[in-house]
């Protein structure tokens, strides 16, 4: 079974600075998808960014980018120019690309990000 590990329960960053959240995963599959979700205090889960494993190019969405290292099974999220509104729980998630496994999204335990003014 696939597992997702987020080794940083909490992180903090100064407003306007850059922070990187770590995520590693364990799988024997070669084709899969990786996601970062954000959960602000409202508890609403919001997709931040998505990466297809077969793409070598790292995904980018405005101030959010990932460093995808397939061989190392690492998928970190970099937030540039941090804003107060970025304060939230961030979850890394894995989803198989294969039939029979692709319905499920497996989450890590999350990293709580605090943004200091």
């Amino acid at each position: 079974a696939q597992t997702v590990t987020q080794s940083q329960p909490e992180m903090s960053v100064q407003e306007a600075e850059t922070v990187t959240l770590s995520c590693t995963y364990d799988t024997s599959e070669s084709d899969y998808y990786l996601f970062w979700y954000k959960q602000p205090p409202s508890r609403q889960m919001i997709l931040v960014i998505r990466q297809e494993a077969y793409k070598q190019q790292n995904a980018t969405e405005n101030r959010f980018s990932v460093n995808f290292q397939k061989a190392a099974k690492s998928f970190s999220l970099k937030i540039s120019d941090s804003q107060l509104g970025d304060a939230a729980m961030y979850f890394c998630a894995y989803r198989s690309a294969y039939v029979g496994g692709s319905e499920k999204l497996v989450f890590g335990k999350g990293t709580k990000l605090t943004v200091n003014p």
């Binding site: 997702v4 997709l47 989803r95 989450f107 335990k109």
Partner: protein
């Protein structure tokens, strides 16, 4: 556009009482539907998912059950709640699997006393 509704938002129930949480999706057909639970300080645990009416897959043996009586309706139930059932329950949907994004409802906070 698609929307997902989940209710009730907050629920306080005594031990041994029944439970029914409901989730509906609008603006799409034949969605994949999911129930996740988020316990304090922990990640999201997949409880059930459904790829079609009457098709329910259970991920974790537990005191809960799920049903999908209609294409866009997903219900989480229990006949007798336990203290350990307390948590934040999230319903989600996706159009198919794989790369398709899961979109979550606003969640239901259940406290069992």
């Amino acid at each position: 556009s698609q929307t997902i509704h989940q209710w009730p938002a907050t629920l306080v129930q005594p031990v041994g009482s029944p439970l029914s949480l409901e989730c509906t999706v609008e603006g799409t057909s034949n969605p994949n539907l999911y129930w996740y639970r988020q316990a304090a300080g922990r990640g999201l645990q997949l409880l059930f998912y459904s790829v079609g009416i009457g098709q329910i897959s259970s991920e974790v043996p537990q005191n809960l059950s799920a049903s999908r009586p209609q294409d866009r309706q997903f219900i989480l139930s229990s006949k007798k709640l336990l203290l350990s059932d307390s948590g934040f329950y999230l319903c989600a949907w996706s159009k198919g699997a794989g790369a398709n994004v899961l979109t979550f409802g606003a969640g239901s906070r259940l406290t069992v006393l």
